[in-house]
């Protein structure tokens, strides 16, 4: 199932290149992670909780020290040229790491001068758009408002790579929709790229161009989103159709008294006669993820 990026890309337009990345912990291992992201595109990093998404992002941000592999951001080494790279990265993490005892204005006064290209006008525009009061203490903001504040900080210094680590977890659908609209608008600028990690894959179906699926510390696939959705099929049918040869064609299978449902990447193998008795649907990213995760849990790679 494992495959590397099938798209041959022009290296000058690559914003992020990760090659053979590895990090070892006592109870978890991130192994041989390889993917890349071009200017003007959104990459969705998906996988269940604890699969290695945050570890990958922390390695890119040099918050964790890699044990193996190479990370290049804007064609530069992510450790040697850390300061230059981080000037052009906007980040939003799943939790607020800004100092809650400070007000929005105070926090901005500390952070803004560190960026070479801070755009105060743009920051004020986002505060208004997000309905954020600069005199408000960060601790007093709701989770959604904290994420909006992080987003305002991330988008106000002409960042070319926006890294979002589970920004929508724990947020209501209205805010999630709002965030996606902002990102969609942001991508009108073709010099920017977004790396968006989430386990809420429906968020990505709207905006992602590429999907990298990580499970148990390994890349299962990295591919164009449409190719992923086209490659897999969700098949439903009555139980009497199932025999051992058909079962082998499925990545995962769920049986109930009313019938079966299974995910396959080999729809052509199933005979047309059989297909007529089945319902074949295009799966969602969520369904693909669930079936692939369950397959790995059963010990099949």
């Amino acid at each position: 199932m494992s495959e590397t990026d099938p798209v041959r890309r022009n290296s000058s337009s690559l914003i992020l290149e990760i090659q053979g990345l590895g990090k070892y912990f006592s109870e978890f291992e991130l192994s041989d992670v390889t993917f890349s992201l071009e200017k003007g595109y959104v990459m969705g990093l998906i996988g269940p909780n604890g699969s290695g998404k945050t570890t990958t992002i922390k390695l890119i941000m040099n918050l964790l020290k890699k044990d193996r592999g190479e990370i290049k951001v804007f064609g530069l080494d992510h450790v040697k040229d850390e300061k230059e790279i981080k000037n052009k990265i906007g980040f939003v993490y799943d939790e607020n790491h800004y100092y809650g005892v400070l007000t929005i204005e105070q926090m901005k006064k500390i952070v803004a001068p560190m960026y070479q290209y801070w755009d105060e006008h743009l920051f004020q525009k986002y505060l208004k758009e997000f309905d954020l009061n600069p005199k408000q203490k960060i601790d007093k903001l709701s989770k959604g408002m904290k994420t909006k504040f992080s987003l305002a900080m991330a988008l106000s210094h002409q960042a070319e790579l926006i890294i979002l680590d589970e920004p929508t977890s724990g947020l209501d659908p209205v805010f999630r929709n709002e965030l996606l609209e902002i990102l969609y608008f942001l991508m009108q600028d073709e010099n920017k790229a977004i790396l968006f990690s989430t386990h809420i894959t429906s968020d990505l179906e709207r905006i992602a161009d590429y999907i990298t699926f990580i499970n148990q510390g390994r890349v299962v696939f990295t591919s164009e989103k449409d190719q992923v959705l086209e490659r897999f099929s969700l098949v439903k049918g009555p139980n009497y159709l199932l025999d051992s040869s058909l079962e082998k064609q499925f990545i995962g299978l769920r049986k109930s008294s009313v019938g079966f449902e299974g995910l396959t990447a080999d729809l052509e193998v199933i005979s047309p006669a059989m297909k007529e008795k089945m319902i074949v649907e295009r799966p969602t990213l969520d369904e693909i993820m669930i079936y692939l995760v369950n397959r790995t849990r059963m010990g099949v790679r």
């Binding site: 941000m61 918050l63 964790l64 300061k83 800004y98 070479q116």
Partner: protein, 225 residues
């Protein structure tokens, strides 16, 4: 880097007011009792460092700081400079206040400018020893686990002051205070050694801080968040 120092001051704004209040409330301690002022200075820096680090711990702020365009060496340097800034803030409060009280010949005040210089020399050395021990421990063990190390290093420094006073057993002369150790040591150095020894103390303090800084940078550069 200065923004990180500013952040450490801003997050503990309410605590700084408490420390300023304490400094002002113990009026004229520098002249009446350099020992108390020394303890005040050491404890002030101790608390301000702990408070600043506790906010980094509470918000996991190092993840945010390390995601900004600033390298790890600068972050560590900012922490060392913060400690020096805390000491200066407390000195700026204590010294002028004491001098004003001295000029107005406040009843009960004793001491001399030379006594203050002697006292400062020793306190600066002790402060350097304290910071040099605590900060590498903090970077190595993290906030929670380093708290005991911090407490113990402060305890050892006060113990050293007491022990030195007992060993020297020379009357403190013009300096009368409850902290005999520090003042007896001050009196000895003041009377017999002159400015050379204070310069040496300053140099030793600086060397310790530089060595400690290098150790902290080495630890911090390899740290995972």
């Amino acid at each position: 880097m200065w923004r990180i120092i500013l952040k450490d001051l801003m997050v503990q704004k309410s605590n700084i007011f408490i420390i300023i209040f304490l400094c002002i409330s113990i009026s004229g301690t520098m002249y009446r009792s350099p020992g108390i002022a020394g303890v005040q200075l050491l404890l002030g820096v101790y608390f301000m460092l702990i408070y600043a680090n506790s906010y980094d711990f509470k918000y996991n702020g190092e993840i945010m700081i390390n995601s900004l365009p600033i390298n790890r060496k600068e972050i560590v340097l900012a922490k060392y400079l913060s400690a020096i800034v805390y000491a200066l803030i407390i000195m700026v409060i204590i010294i002028p206040e004491s001098m004003i009280l001295y000029l107005f010949n406040f009843p009960g005040l004793t001491g001399s400018i030379q006594a203050i210089v002697s006292f400062l020399g020793i306190v600066v050395l002790l402060l350097s020893i304290y910071i040099s021990i605590y900060l590498p421990l903090y970077y190595r063990l993290g906030y929670m686990r380093s708290r005991w190390g911090n407490f113990i290093s402060m305890f050892v420094i006060f113990g050293l002051i007491g022990a030195m006073g007992q060993l020297i057993k020379i009357p403190a002369g013009e300096l009368k205070t409850t902290n005999q150790g520090l003042e007896q040591l001050t009196a000895v150095l003041n009377g017999y050694a002159g400015p050379v020894i204070y310069l040496m103390m300053l140099v030793v303090g600086m060397v310790l801080l530089v060595l400690s800084f290098k150790v902290s940078v080495r630890i911090y550069k390899n740290k995972d968040f």
